[in-house]
């Protein structure tokens, strides 16, 4: 079951990262090409 917990943790971390990224892109939303 350890492998399952690892996967769940990774998913949780990824969700937290995506949430953080969304907030960061709101405060500096300027994109340059």
């Amino acid at each position: 079951m350890k492998w399952l917990k690892n996967i769940i943790n990774r998913i949780k971390l990824e969700i937290a990262y995506r949430k953080k990224l969304k907030e960061l892109r709101k405060r500096d939303p300027f994109i340059y090409k």
Partner: protein, 215 residues
């Protein structure tokens, strides 16, 4: 003719304007009859601005530093300088330096906002003292966002905030260009257009008048 150096990000560069000569540095230089060198660059970080002010010190009489968001910094690798910030960077990196995106992702995951904000304050203090010691006239201002950090963390950063000379800081600590140009139309990427640039130039001009720099 006095020589004016401006450094900044896309707002000082004139991003989204049909004609870059309508950007506020040009409007201001024309009004004052100064010779302009505008080294602003879309996506510029604040480290780059300090570097230019120091490297170019013998080429200008007056410098205007339009800081970008406090978290933007400059890095360099074998392909040269580049700017990045938590959550982003300039897109051309993808084509010729794809590894830069690994650093941007790491930086996004693990940056420390308190540290980055204090680094921004240190840049202001050190550059103000550098320009004073070189007998250069200068003005500073912010493009966007930093006023919120100023208010949110005023107590914990009092030691540095107290060292900033507000006399030469337009709008400090409560407003940025975005507030001055609030009612002006903005482009699809979020930059104010011609009317906003007129407002920014006017705000800086009025500050110069207050300092009796305008005859």
């Amino acid at each position: 003719m006095a020589k004016l150096l401006t450094v900044g990000d896309s707002f000082t560069y004139g991003e989204e304007l049909a004609d870059l000569t309508s950007a506020w540095p040009n409007l201001l230089a024309n009004k004052l009859k100064y010779e302009l060198t505008n080294l602003a660059k879309p996506g510029s970080g604040n480290t780059r601005m300090v570097r230019h002010c120091v490297e170019q010190v013998n080429t200008y009489d007056i410098a205007i530093i339009a800081w970008s968001h406090f978290a933007r910094i400059e890095m360099a690798d074998e392909n040269g300088f580049y700017d990045l910030w938590p959550g982003g960077g300039t897109l051309p990196h993808k084509q010729y330096s794809p590894w830069r995106w690994e650093i941007i992702e790491y930086f996004t995951r693990h940056h420390n906002d308190d540290y980055l904000y204090r680094q921004y304050l240190l840049k202001i203090i050190l550059l103000q003292n550098f320009l004073k010691s070189n007998n250069k006239r200068y003005l500073m201002l912010d493009s966007f966002g930093n006023h919120q950090a100023n208010q949110r963390t005023a107590e914990q950063n009092k030691d540095l905030l107290d060292q900033i000379d507000a006399t030469y800081y337009v709008g400090w600590p409560d407003t940025t260009m975005m507030e001055w140009a609030y009612s002006a139309p903005i482009g699809p990427k979020g930059h104010f257009l011609g009317q906003g640039h007129l407002k920014v130039a006017e705000k800086i001009y009025l500050h110069m008048e207050k300092l009796s720099w305008v005859s």
